[in-house]
């Protein structure tokens, strides 16, 4: 009986969450006052710039995270992907953190498929590529090829501070993006929220 995975799955019940739970502080919006020595200049004239923040806590306690995870920057949406949205993650030069968090949006807690979001194994079937990590020499060509292989209309998602601004480790990804998902790494809630918004869907 132990092998009866189906029954085991049913017995576990529904684990998907309607409201966010247990978000790690240091992946959410940062607020505060005062002069701080921010290594990426993510605080300028008292304003927090999400795209540059590596969540290192050097600004603490003058600045503190406020648990708002909806920090993505939407630059354009594509309603055509409302019902089904196929994404192809591509790693330009990451530390593995962004890779883990994008994988985790498929866990039962987030269950990306209920919003019509699916992973695909090839850019040829992708509606969006999700690029993470800093731009490394050899991957330049690979990213270009993956982008060109996608059918129109197509979207670009930049995931994590490395891809958006280069963070402290290198160069940003030089692609025009429809959405920027800040974080180092971004929280799965932030990623899911951003993807739902960019495909013109509702939570």
């Amino acid at each position: 009986m132990k092998n009866w995975w189906f029954l085991r799955g049913v017995r576990k019940g529904i684990l998907t969450e309607k409201t966010p739970k247990d978000i790690a502080e240091w992946s959410t919006e940062i607020e505060g006052k005062g002069v701080v020595n921010c290594p990426t200049k993510a605080i300028e004239n008292g304003k927090w710039i999400a795209e540059r923040c590596i969540f290192c806590r050097r600004c603490y306690p003058n600045y503190k995270p406020n648990l708002n995870y909806e920090i993505s920057i939407i630059k354009g949406t594509q309603k055509l992907f409302k019902k089904s949205f196929f994404i192809y993650p591509i790693d330009a030069g990451s530390c593995g953190g962004c890779n883990m968090e994008i994988k985790l949006i498929s866990s039962p807690q987030y269950d990306m498929t209920r919003f019509g979001i699916f992973f695909t194994n090839t850019p040829r079937h992708a509606d969006a590529i999700i690029v993470m990590g800093t731009l490394t020499e050899k991957m330049k060509e690979v990213i270009k090829e993956a982008y060109n292989a996608m059918p129109e209309p197509k979207l670009v998602v930049l995931l994590g501070t490395c891809a958006i601004s280069g963070g402290i480790l290198g160069e940003a990804i030089p692609l025009e993006a429809s959405v920027l998902i800040p974080g180092c790494p971004p929280n799965p809630y932030t990623i899911l929220d951003a993807l739902i918004k960019v495909k013109g869907g509702k939570k």
Partner: protein, 392 residues
């Protein structure tokens, strides 16, 4: 260099190449560490080349495999990591270097940061506070549990066993949330300093619930022929130069936790988990039982970690010197050798477990068939992030 000595030639267990040097269990040498026993590409009748990667859905990171095959068998294989990051730490203070070190490989970031800090403390001759040492063990064991759950989830996913895969992903997410609750960050960024760990371990006991659930999945997998058949006799590797779960799966009692007195593992006490068959199944077994062992260590720690003991500011005896430290990361030995001057890093060398494991994987994969590939690959728990780093 409290834990290591310079030597003319290697003695004891060989760990691997660290920068321009070769590291053994207690000594470091200047001899060349490279081994070139990967056989050259032979000519096979009817063989052709097949490329897998560098960017493919089945691979989590960017790496390219050039495979020579005559249809189904892998006759020869070459691997080329595709994402090479130059990370400059020389000239930086240890605090600034830390920001970069913790971003070499987030899934193993506790191992990287702790090995680096232990090396810096060695160079500066800083005595660690006992509570800091215990807290560091807690981070390393939490990281081991998360990683092993992830490797097993990748294995069940490759076998298209959806229920255990999603159940394991659920547990990985729960572990990440627990880490986030204890340390404020799901990958331990910004919590480690010299002689200090900035986490609150009050809720550490919650790991027990996660591991209890894992045990049921693990028992189920041990009875699943569909799953076991994919792993047994796949990627057999008996190699004295292997490390971590790959070595322990071949019955070798290699574990940095008990070889060095750098962290007080011996006082807490734990069993080294071993298997005999040296295949992907052995590596899976070792990881599964290690999750249970790590949870026992963590439960012991809940009694002895006292969060109210404020770690004192560190007192450095030197601001110039060299230090070397090695820890047992989830995939085996990980070491840093650093030199500092006036409190700044003047050189840093890294031995990453994935570099050693990639070589092991390449040895084990020849003669296997395509359908074996994914299972064998995942069983080594390799991260390209830490292989593709040029530390400058």
């Amino acid at each position: 260099m409290k834990h290591y000595k310079w030597s003319d030639k290697g003695e004891g267990r060989k760990i691997g190449k660290i920068g321009n040097y070769c590291l053994y269990d207690k000594v470091i040498t200047e001899e060349s560490c490279e081994e070139t026993n990967l056989s050259p590409d032979a000519k096979y009748y009817g063989a052709f080349k097949f490329v897998y990667g560098p960017s493919a859905g089945g691979l989590l990171e960017s790496i390219k495999f050039d495979i020579t095959t005559d249809g189904e068998r892998i006759l020869n294989i070459n691997s080329i990591p595709y994402k090479i990051r130059k990370i400059k730490v020389t000239g930086l203070s240890w605090e600034d270097a830390l920001l970069k070190i913790e971003r070499i490989n987030a899934p193993f970031s506790a191992s990287h940061i702790i090995a680096f800090l232990l090396a810096i403390e060695d160079a500066m001759n800083i005595e660690q506070d006992y509570q800091t040492q215990l807290k560091r063990i807690a981070l390393l064991e939490l990281e081991r549990i998360r990683n092993h759950l992830f490797v097993i989830a990748r294995l069940t996913e490759a076998a298209s066993l959806s229920v255990p895969t999603f159940h394991l992903l659920y547990l990985i997410e729960e572990t990440n949330r627990l880490i986030g609750k204890l340390c404020g960050h799901r990958y331990f960024f910004g919590v480690n300093y010299i002689n200090k760990v900035n986490c609150n371990f009050e809720k550490l006991f919650k790991i027990l619930d996660i591991v209890k659930e894992f045990r049921l999945i693990f028992e189920g997998l041990l009875e699943s022929r569909i799953f076991i058949d994919r792993l047994q006799q796949n990627g057999i590797l008996r190699d004295r130069d292997s490390i971590g779960p790959a070595a322990r799966a071949a019955g070798l009692e290699y574990d940095a936790r008990l070889e060095l007195n750098i962290l007080p593992y011996k006082e807490i006490g734990f069993k080294i988990v071993k298997a005999e068959d040296a295949d992907a199944f052995g590596r899976f077994l070792v990881r599964g039982y290690e999750i249970i062992e790590s949870s026992k260590i963590l439960i012991e720690l809940t009694d002895i970690i006292k969060d109210n003991t404020n770690t004192e500011e560190y007192k450095a005896i030197n601001d110039e010197g060299e230090g070397l430290a090695r820890v047992e990361s989830p995939s085996g030995d990980l070491a840093y050798y650093v030199k500092i001057k006036e409190g700044r890093v003047t050189s840093a060398q890294l031995l990453s477990p994935s570099y050693v494991n990639l070589k092991s994987f390449m040895k084990s994969v020849k003669g296997t068939i395509f359908t074996d590939f994914q299972f064998n690959w995942e069983s080594f728990g390799i991260w390209i992030s830490e292989i593709g780093v040029n530390l400058e």
